[in-house]
Assembly symmetry: C2
Homo-oligomer: 303 residues x 2
């Protein structure tokens, strides 16, 4: 958590783990106390305008976290309602992490002034936030923007969501690891990755191998870009954005991921869209993106 000013400067910060407690009320009580302590950290005091929360499976309309598979809180958790009992601010808003990142990019980052863009977060999974006509797309139920769960191959890899072949099983940190293991089986080139086991192999190791010219690692980045590029071409055929921003661990691989993604995206794109859509790295600082995104929600609301 952080206290963020209008220009995106974080003037105080704090943190607490999400996985400590499965008791939602106890957790939210501790969180609220820590928020008050964090406000008190700001020298000379500060006029707080509101609270923004970025959370997995966050629902903007309801202010709830709903059935988040990676949290200990089960079912539907009324976060905004709870915070309203503790704080009297006008604006208390919540959305999912990727939507918050998109709004962060719009308020503080590379999407300033853009009315139509897509944010793709390439982390453990693949998240997305879609902006149309300068507004976040929440959909009728608050859950729009799950491009990570569009289907690349209906007979493809098992996904944590229970289906097969979702984009996220290919274009995430774990997705590229799965690709490496497929390629270790199908290709015969020597590779430093032949000594790695599945549990320990990380996207960072694959990145380092690729930079040393490892053919398996390079082929894995190429295939990741092919799948991502194809599904981004599909996304463009929906909302025709001015730019797509890539954010998260895998995006930090730079040219290794941007070049094949751009190539295949253009190749698989309907001709009217070609050479129009920028593929850009997020301008949010990686460590601060979650805080900036959540705070941007408030500034966006006050606009």
């Amino acid at each position: 958590m952080g206290i963020v000013d209008k220009d995106g400067n974080i003037i105080a910060r704090n943190s607490m783990p999400t996985k400590t407690s499965s008791d939602y009320h106890a957790y939210m009580n501790s969180l609220s106390e820590l928020m008050k302590e964090t406000v008190a950290l700001v020298e000379g005091g500060v006029d707080i305008k509101g609270i923004g929360v970025g959370a997995p499976n966050g629902n903007y309309y309801n202010g709830t976290i709903e059935f988040a598979p990676n949290l200990k809180f089960k079912g539907i958790v009324p976060v905004v309602e709870f915070l309203k009992t503790k704080f009297a601010f006008d604006v208390i808003v919540l959305t999912n992490d990727a939507n918050a990142a998109a709004i962060g990019e719009m308020i503080y980052g590379g999407a300033k002034g853009m009315r139509d863009f897509i944010m793709i977060t390439l982390g453990t999974g693949v998240g997305s936030g879609i902006v149309v006509n300068g507004e976040m797309v929440y959909g009728h139920d608050g859950f729009a923007g799950e491009i990570g769960h569009t289907i690349f191959d209906p007979n493809g890899r098992d996904c944590g969501c229970g289906r097969k072949g979702c984009l996220e099983t290919y274009a995430s940190a774990s997705g590229i690891k799965r690709t490496v293991f497929e390629l270790l089986a199908s290709m015969i080139e020597p590779s430093s990755l032949r000594g790695a086991n599945f549990n320990d192999l990380s996207a960072k190791t694959i990145d380092e191998a690729a930079r040393k010219g490892d053919k398996i690692a390079l082929a894995a980045f190429d295939y990741t870009g092919e799948v991502l590029g194809l599904k981004l071409a599909d996304a463009i055929a929906h909302t025709s954005p001015q730019a797509i921003f890539l954010f998260g661990g895998l995006a930090q691989a730079g040219d290794l991921i941007f070049e094949p993604t751009k190539y295949y995206m253009e190749e698989q794109m309907l001709s009217i869209y070609r050479n129009k859509v920028k593929l850009l790295p997020s301008e949010l600082p990686p460590g601060d993106a979650a805080i900036l995104g959540a705070s941007a929600l408030v500034w966006k609301e006050l606009k």
Copy 2:
């Protein structure tokens, strides 16, 4: 063309073919004359508020038709600019046919009061119009909403757009014909369609055969629904609409197309979206949808 009142009643109509002339100025002059004659048809006179145009490859922002493959006019054609030299109405707007149909559905049809929905037109090709937060999604360049050209199978059927495996090569009137021919080759069941040649076979004939229990025809509808359902599940993961409307020749097959599409759409959908998104037939009268959609553009603009 037609004169349409606020409630969607067509009080005068006329028509002229689009393929008569490749001379754009001559064509637009004749069209403008006929528009004036059509206005004069209304007994007691009429106060015209504006002109709406639905056109293939129509660009809302520029008021142009751009590189429409099925028209004789080549390149970029400035339709709105031309009409402004002939008519003094405040509102003269243009968009593509599928977007116009979506706005028609919103103003006169089943999408009244809906803020998030998708219109899919299943005709010779597959068109789409996406509405988010009560507004048409045009994208940064005016060309958003080409779900017919999202890719089902990158190694699939040749598409008129130059790529392979677009949804429209499966889920259109010609797409289901292609499916029938694949099934005639792969299945051994007897079928009335074994006497048909590719040139003459129509979606209507396949529809009639299916209603008589023809196994090939039924399998063709099932496969069409499977492909369409999968790509609609993808579309839902972008904008999470309250409803998807199916319009056009193939949609008139009713249960034959709605049942498999609904089944596979639900099956391929991320669980948070399940049993929430209505799959509905358009409520626009088929013969009048083009006129109603174009006129709705004007009412939408005046709102």
